[in-house]
Symmetry: C2
Subunit: 458 residues, 2 copies
């Protein structure tokens, strides 16, 4: 659809982009990690991109879209992998990246504009000795609002669990898409109404989160004779309550060749662990590596790691950029037939299941493991690389994994309902009726909700 001229009029002086390059770039995210999504989403385009400078601008956009019944899609850093920020029905893309104020912070908590990039937030917090508890591997570009709306875990999850855990987000401010937009503050459990809702039920404008007092995180790479040995080490290390840690990743020997810049730090055939640990405790970490027959092959001091992350020094990029779904990015650059899956291993028998997956799908599903705490227990998740052959085969693999007790979240769908948000009675859907009464927020993203709504209307 083309947007009506009256919409532009309603937008007043809110900054707008409508050149083809901007429209293309700001209608995309990393959905192309999936060959299935790539086919479906490649051509979706916004008709206009708005870049509000402040909350008043946001409300003006929301009012205009509601009045003119124009679809509205919210966009953060565009680092999602499921087309979260792709405008399925065109219309307006609202880019929140200029809503990047540090609103306040005090020991243990801070409040930030939704468009603040997570690296920039951490930079602003350095003088206070605090930091965000989590960040995705896309820390440099991802926004805090986008992380709450479309993310789940990342570096930090080995200590703090996931972003949807109790207490992990203190409050979210949302602007509704109505002729007279309202500003709604969701606190406590009410934040779940908009978490992982891909921005379809209100425009997140501010996020309040607990902060972690920061440790000096140094980096280590260790190699092991097998995935199994590396996984056992990583599990044991994550269970060391007394060692402060930020990141515990394990790569199967088949994954390592895709991480070219790390090649000097692993002999062929070795599994690799990537660790961020509080610097004074690196010695305790290294003892545990040795216990598990591993070898430390790379060491970077906390201050050097920090400088590289904050672009104050050049050199090998921060190691977290070789973990989580950045792994897929590195692999696809080398082999475009690679895609990925999302798995979660149950704490009770995660190591046994890791061994099983590695053996059962050798050469096809290449595991890398992200160790984390889940509800007080240590386990691992994985975004394994997959050597893709067909959608049918991918479905078969997922079904077999699921049958064996490995939890699968399908990353090859842009329909939110299919990817974990499966119940229409979830608080997100209910809140959507309130925050987006005209159903303008990225229509097409919520299959069941729309059917339900149509039913209710009919």
């Amino acid at each position: 659809m083309a947007v009506p001229a009256s919409l532009r009029q309603d937008l007043g002086d809110v900054p707008i982009l409508d050149d083809p390059g901007s429209l293309r770039m700001r209608s995309r995210d990393f959905f192309w990690f999936s060959p299935i999504l790539k086919e479906t989403l490649e051509d979706k385009r916004a008709d206009i991109v708005v870049v509000p400078r402040d909350k008043a601008d946001v409300m003006r956009v929301a009012a205009a879209c509601a009045r003119q019944r124009v679809p509205l899609t919210v966009r953060g850093g565009g680092t999602g992998n499921y087309g979260q920020a792709v405008p399925l029905a065109g219309g307006v893309v609202l880019d929140v990246t200029r809503l990047d104020q540090v609103i306040w912070h005090r020991p243990g908590a801070g409040r930030f504009g939704a468009g603040g990039r997570m690296l920039d937030i951490d930079r602003a917090l350095i003088p206070a000795g605090h930091e965000l508890r989590f960040y995705p591997s896309t820390r440099q570009h991802a926004t805090i609002g986008g992380f709450v709306a479309g993310g789940a875990a990342g570096a930090g999850s080995c200590t703090w669990g996931q972003i949807a855990d109790p207490g992990a987000v203190l409050a979210v401010e949302v602007v509704t898409v109505e002729e007279r937009p309202r500003v709604i503050e969701l606190r406590g459990r009410d934040v779940l109404k908009v978490m992982h809702a891909y921005g379809v039920n209100g425009i997140i404008t501010e996020v309040e989160v607990p902060l972690a007092p920061s440790h000096p995180w140094c980096e280590r790479i260790a190699t092991f004779s097998s995935l199994s040995a590396a996984a056992r080490f990583a599990h044991a290390f994550t269970e060391c309550d007394g060692i402060a840690k930020k990141l515990v990743t394990v790569h199967d020997p088949q994954v390592v060749p895709y991480l070219r810049r790390l090649a000097p730090y692993a002999e062929p055939g070795r599994a690799m662990a990537i660790i961020m640990v509080s610097e004074p405790q690196a010695e305790a970490l290294e003892l545990l590596v040795a216990d598990h027959g591993g070898e430390v092959t790379f060491r970077r001091a906390a201050e050097d790691a920090r400088k590289v992350a904050f672009a104050e020094a050049s050199g090998l990029q921060p190691l977290y950029e070789f973990t989580w779904n950045h792994t897929t990015l590195h692999a696809i650059r080398i082999d475009s037939t690679i895609t990925y899956l999302q798995l979660r291993f149950p704490p009770a028998n995660n190591l046994e299941l890791v061994d099983w997956v590695a053996a059962r799908f050798h050469g096809e599903v290449l595991l890398h493991l992200e160790f984390q705490r889940r509800f007080g227990k240590v386990t691992c998740s994985s975004l394994p690389l997959v050597r893709y052959t067909s959608a049918a085969r991918l479905e078969a693999v997922m079904a077999e994994l699921d049958g064996k007790g490995v939890a699968v979240s399908n990353p090859h769908t842009f329909i939110l309902d299919n990817a974990g948000w499966k119940r229409v009675d979830a608080p997100q859907a209910e809140f959507k009726r309130l925050a987006d009464p005209h159903g303008l927020m990225n229509p097409g993203k919520l299959k069941h909700w729309q059917e339900h709504k149509i039913e209710a209307i009919a």
Copy 2:
């Protein structure tokens, strides 16, 4: 024994106390929590107390004792419960409390004189935004050296585990008791050589530990209909990885009346939970309390709690002084027939076993639970109050608990070997041969070691 005059000569100007009051006070700790230890240890006395001003003084004392073959017992804050600081064979008591320098600290770690009291160390760290990870309920008097030598866990263990966990102590400096004393630095796992060794294998002079960046810890009391309900809440809360916490204690309804100053905050018959939580997350805590049918009856802001702890304000003492073994102190003041035990519940079925103990020994073993992480899992330990009848009955209770899978550490023995240090080939014993070749450090404390030594000589 009386110390030889030549010892005093050898001590030079090292400060000495030998008045009867000082000798009595500095030959005691809180062993009288145990009716059994009380009988045995009540009359033990040092002949002389030395109070070294620095490491040179320590070495002078060590050399003098070695030369004159005079028994030497090291003493920190005297807050132990097993007679750790009681000189079984008289001789010299070495009081380390003037070795209280903050040697250095940087983000994530610090090094302290062994005699630094834990509250004073935390006070010194406030400007840096750091704190000790753990402290016992005796934080005000306990020294860091004493905690490493004779402690185990405390406030902080719900997050950081125990003091003997991997990485929890970075280094310990020890002075040997020889004619020419050596200064030995133990790092990494070598620290285990002197941990929980009750000071019998070297004089700990400095301790280096990882520090936690500090949160604003506010205090809450919540009450529940039963011990079981409170324990289920506390377990679930401790499993909330996303809520930063310092203390999670649960008191059986039968314990609460002994905590008189907390009486206003619990209706009779209610179980009580005492919590220290990062202030911005108190809201998330309170939601969980409500989920478990509990009621928050006391709230103190972090800044107010801090001021009371550091004696900058008056009022109800810090809540951690109603937890761990302070509970026993409060109870004995009211009923001198009370004593206690030390239990650890296995993570797999801790809550079931708590219910079993409470039912099986109702009226005799009154549980209070300290929730903590142990090797990556959540569980609880307990220092239950016991209505004492006889030593034989106490043995029978311990045997029954042990048989059911509740781990018992007997706190009614002053023999270190009986209380967990059971193997003569443990690293502590081996290190004793090196650090105390003449066997002068509190002789009588190590039964098996002495038998073994005599054998080796014969």
